[in-house]
């Protein structure tokens, strides 16, 4: 385990170096969050009662989304991994006494985490002090706060486990571009990154909630703002655990298959 930990550390500290990029990111996400809220405000002024989430719930959701963007952005991939497969540099990684799946998983986590650490605090702190109803409220109950943190981590792991499937697919397709564009849009849309899932039509929503994408950012953020009732929290967290288990198992299996057939490119 130690080796994965030190790998995690080297990646994390490496990622924490990029302060300039982080400030630029913070600024962008502020503007983006603000614009999204203003857009929703227009809808809410027309008929608040017919909409599924209250405006304070929505505000919390949007600011959490911006704060933890780096954990849940589906369009971010580690190009090192793609390059190592297509160029054949993976040869060196295969010559090490390590589990490649675990190694890549840890690498992904570290890169996303280092970005999130730099960005989330300024965004969340400022968002607390914004005028009502545009601010982020505190978690509705202490239990919800605690469950939010657990669910935040689980959702993060679900997303990384899912993106592992994309990395593994490159063993078969060699070019990641097509599959990346496709999955990125699907995950962003069905995960609630574009509009929160409660805004989906009822029938579609029932289906979408069963997919792994709903177990990514949707669950923790909706626990935090109280949209998921406290009696339902355990159920949705359990759902996250189940999806995490399935995705991990699937990824490991596919990786094993891929490595059996892998052709290391180049002489």
């Amino acid at each position: 385990m130690n080796k994965y930990l030190s790998f995690f550390k080297i990646r994390l500290t490496n990622g924490l170096q990029y302060r300039g990029a982080a400030w630029a990111g913070v600024a962008t996400q502020f503007v983006w969050g603000g614009m999204t809220l203003l857009m929703f405000r227009a809808f809410y002024q027309n008929g608040e009662n017919s909409l599924p989430m209250t405006f304070p719930e929505l505000s919390s959701y949007i600011w959490l989304q911006q704060g933890f963007l780096a954990l849940y952005m589906a369009w971010y991939f580690d190009n090192d991994i793609f390059n190592s497969i297509t160029s054949g540099n993976i040869a060196y990684e295969l010559c090490r006494p390590i589990d490649l799946y675990a190694m890549w998983f840890v690498k992904n986590m570290a890169v996303r985490l280092s970005r999130a650490i730099l960005r989330c605090f300024p965004i969340l702190i400022v968002a607390v002090f914004l005028p009502k109803p545009f601010n982020i409220s505190l978690p509705c109950t202490p239990v919800a706060g605690l469950m939010f943190i657990i669910s935040l981590i689980l959702g993060f792991l679900v997303l990384v486990a899912f993106s592992m499937l994309i990395y593994i697919s490159v063993f078969y397709t060699l070019s990641s571009l097509g599959i990346r564009i496709l999955t990125t849009s699907v995950v962003e849309f069905l995960g609630g990154a574009i509009i929160p899932l409660p805004f989906f039509p009822q029938k579609l929503q029932t289906l979408v909630m069963l997919l792994p994408f709903a177990s990514m950012q949707n669950t923790p953020f909706q626990i935090y703002n109280g949209y998921i009732a406290s009696s339902e929290i355990l159920k949705s967290v359990l759902f996250q655990i189940i999806w995490l288990g399935i995705l991990l198992k699937l990824g490991k299996l596919l990786m094993q298959q891929a490595l059996k057939k892998v052709v290391v490119q180049g002489g």
């Binding site: 030190s6 060196y92 090490r96 057939k261 892998v262 290391v264």
Partner: protein, 324 residues
């Protein structure tokens, strides 16, 4: 102990002719061809041996190295390295080997080399005292103590290669695979690398398998050579035997004043410029002294030297002999 028995490997390669219409056709129906990279490759290498693995580009050298290091699974055949089958017990196997791919890098690009070394230490769980001892020894032998605080991206190729080799040896592997370790290096670095490999083999008794196109590497390092061509092992023997086979050819280098017009029987020019000529002799036809006598009759000799065939020439004649 490395044992390969009847290893076969075939690659499936997509193929199409050039041009747009062909590209469209390929969308509908792809044509594949099968390339047999290795055919019944078998050999045995004992502990502590140093073996040169040579052959032209595309002969199957790298594929063999990849199979032996557990990266590639062959279609059929057996391979046992210290009692383990590489592709079946990959993780246990790679703990005992070191690999250097001359054309790739294992050092992390933007961190100092020393950080990469630390990470490798953790990956292989090398204990602190062994790591310290290894690091001190390697930095001294490879002369890299000055540069390991520099990020890998700022190193020259020769500096980087020395660091790569050190990185592959930090966990004291019993077997070292070197895939073209001197590719692109200048003369000084090449000599440093060769000297180091030689020391490693004689002092640590590390088994070394070396692929290269540089015949000076082979000449300086290995006693035994394996020649592979078109996926088959064509020759397994010592460099000395090979040399004996080719000893009927000698090379004469002559500097002279005058015009050296014709070569006699058993002599052929490989170069004949104004005042300088290189002549290959077939000693079964003409003796060296007779050849020199013939030349001195035609011109005034300033300087003359006689050498046996170089390893390079031997390999060229071998490639010709086996039609590879």
């Amino acid at each position: 102990m490395i044992e390969l028995k009847n290893i076969n490997k075939t690659f499936k390669v997509a193929k199409r002719n050039a041009g747009l219409s062909e590209a469209v056709k390929a969308l509908l129906r792809k044509e594949y061809s099968y390339i047999q990279a290795l055919r019944d490759v078998s050999f045995t290498i004992k502990d502590g041996e140093m073996v040169g693995y040579i052959g032209p580009n595309g002969a199957g050298k790298s594929s063999t190295i990849k199979i032996m290091s557990g990266i590639l699974t062959p279609d059929s055949g057996e391979c046992s390295i210290n009692g383990k089958t590489p592709w079946q017990e990959r993780i246990a196997h790679v703990r005992e080997i070191g690999v250097v791919f001359g054309q790739r890098s294992q050092l992390w690009w933007d961190v100092p080399v020393a950080d990469s070394f630390e990470l490798i230490k953790d990956i292989y769980k090398v204990d602190d005292t062994a790591f310290k001892r290894n690091l001190d020894e390697l930095t001294e032998l490879l002369d890299i103590s000055e540069i390991i605080r520099t990020p890998a991206r700022q190193l020259s190729l020769g500096q980087r290669m020395r660091c790569e080799i050190a990185a592959s040896l930090l966990h004291s592997p019993k077997i070292l695979f070197l895939d073209e370790p001197t590719i692109g290096l200048d003369a000084v670095s090449k000599i440093a690398v060769r000297k180091f490999i030689k020391t490693l083999n004689s002092e640590r008794k590390t088994t070394v398998i070396l692929t290269t196109h540089d015949m000076q590497d082979i000449e300086a390092l290995t006693e035994r050579i394996l020649l592979i061509g078109k996926g088959k092992i064509l020759l397994d023997g010592s460099l000395r035997e090979l040399k004996k086979r080719n000893s009927s050819h000698k090379r004469l280098t002559v500097d002279f004043v005058g015009i050296l017009a014709e070569a006699g029987k058993g002599m052929s020019f490989t170069e004949n410029l104004d005042g300088h000529a290189e002549i290959v002799l077939d000693t079964e036809v003409i003796s060296v002294s007779e050849a020199i006598a013939q030349i001195s009759r035609q011109v005034e000799i300033n300087d003359i030297s006689v050498t046996g065939a170089t390893a390079e020439e031997m390999v060229v004649s071998l490639y010709k002999e086996f039609e590879i």
